[in-house]
């Protein structure tokens, strides 16, 4: 049977991609952020997951406002990143796993969720950068990918509870998959930051700490706020924590915190990286 070994949660600031391209991992500005990935690298080397299920938000590469899905599940044989407007591309394509994608789609729809099904899907920096951070030396990707995009752009956004429940349904689908793959989930974006308006530069250390403290032991504490509450607390783009909430929902076992890094600032963002382990519940 398949196994969800853990979850990686991290920021996806575009500038991180530029720092990787320039090899700035040891630069004093960037080092405190990149160092947060050492435990992630050790863990991935040990666990060697076969499948990555990544919850992220598209920033206007694959989806535009003509048709904006609340939840979109990739079901392609492969995925690639393209130029998002800044002339940066060239990340390695990602192998897909359509049979698992369709299993997830079938199961979550059976549970009365209504995702958009995507047999072609470009993935943007919100997926590409966390993957580069987690597997920096991979000559070819050692995993197969199921990308799941959540709308954090066009209001109304799904509620945190809806995202958590959707993540739970994805988690149940993964648990019922008959393959013997080891799975890692990922939630990207955040933490607090705001790019637009007179409040640009907003950061909320207290709210971020609340989220990080509760992510492993009491994720439902994060559901007490509405998406608009989160915009007020964490900033317009801080609401990307919806991706973290969904990914955490997919982890249904006994969940423990393996590593945490929180550093301010990376670009305009309070940047965080967390790794949680998912253990099977002990049946007494």
């Amino acid at each position: 049977m398949s196994e969800i070994a853990g979850g990686i949660f991290t920021s996806h600031v575009p500038g991180i991609g530029q720092a990787i391209a320039k090899g700035l991992q040891q630069d004093p500005y960037w080092k405190p952020f990149f160092d947060g990935f050492h435990p992630v690298h050790e863990w991935l080397k040990r666990e060697k997951p076969d499948v990555l299920v990544c919850f992220y938000n598209d920033h206007g590469l694959n989806f535009f406002l003509d048709a904006m899905p609340t939840f979109a599940i990739g079901a392609a044989g492969s995925y690639r990143h393209e130029d998002e407007g800044w002339g940066i591309s060239g990340y390695k394509p990602y192998p897909g796993m359509p049979e698992l994608s369709w299993h997830i789609i079938n199961e979550v729809v059976r549970e009365e969720f209504d995702p958009t099904m995507c047999q072609k899907m470009l993935v943007d920096h919100a997926l590409a950068i966390p993957v580069e951070l987690a597997w920096p030396d991979a000559e070819s990707w050692p995993f197969k990918l199921v990308p799941i995009a959540i709308n954090t752009v066009q209001f109304p956004l799904p509620s945190p509870k809806r995202c958590f429940d959707f993540g739970r349904a994805v988690g149940r689908a993964l648990e019922s998959w008959e393959g013997d793959e080891k799975i890692v989930v990922m939630g990207t974006g955040g933490l607090s930051h705001q790019l637009e308006g007179q409040r640009a530069g907003h950061i909320n250390i207290e709210y971020d700490t609340f989220c990080m403290d509760n992510l492993s032991r009491d994720p439902e504490a994060l559901l007490q706020h509405s998406s608009l509450d989160i915009v007020e607390l964490a900033g317009s783009q801080g609401v990307e924590i919806l991706n973290w909430i969904a990914a955490r929902g997919a982890m249904r076992g006994s969940v423990t915190e393996y590593s945490r890094n929180y550093h301010i600032p990376i670009s305009n963002t309070a940047a965080a990286t967390m790794l949680l382990e998912n253990h099977e519940k002990v049946i007494a």
């Binding site: 209001f155 790019l195 637009e196 007179q198 608009l228 317009s236």
Partner: protein, 131 residues
């Protein structure tokens, strides 16, 4: 009326919640910015901004705020920051330049304010360790 009038909507100071009204108002400007994913479109805009804005049917107000590089004006006319970021790239502006333009500070002041959050976090962490 089946939805709250504008004045009843929740206001978050200094923040532009990109709701259905903003999305309708800003469709043309965002559509144009979405086209900037392609390098040839970025070049076409840079070569002739007016012709390119006409091609996407921008309103006079939207054209004016783009000519003026008025970021708050772009937000007021329905621009969404994720799409505007692609325009900013053509104009050679990073998110901290954009931040400074919107907050009425210099770029150095904007960066210093971000660093101050980092300093506060370090102080909190040290206090926590001492406690």
């Amino acid at each position: 009326m089946f939805r709250p009038a504008g004045d009843d909507r929740r206001q978050i100071p200094g923040t532009y919640v990109f709701d259905g009204d903003a999305a309708q108002r800003g469709f043309a400007i965002n559509d144009m910015c979405f086209s900037f994913n392609k390098a040839e479109n970025r070049e076409a805009f840079a070569a002739d901004e007016e012709a390119y804005m006409d091609r996407y049917g921008l309103s006079e107000e939207q054209k004016k705020v783009i000519r003026d590089r008025d970021v708050i004006g772009m937000l007021n006319s329905g621009g969404n920051i994720y799409y505007l970021a692609k325009l900013a790239g053509i104009l050679g502006l990073g998110v901290q330049d954009i931040g400074a333009l919107q907050t009425g500070t210099t770029v150095d002041e904007f960066k210093a304010a971000l660093l101050a959050h980092g300093t506060r976090l370090k102080e909190m962490t040290h206090q926590g360790e001492a406690a």
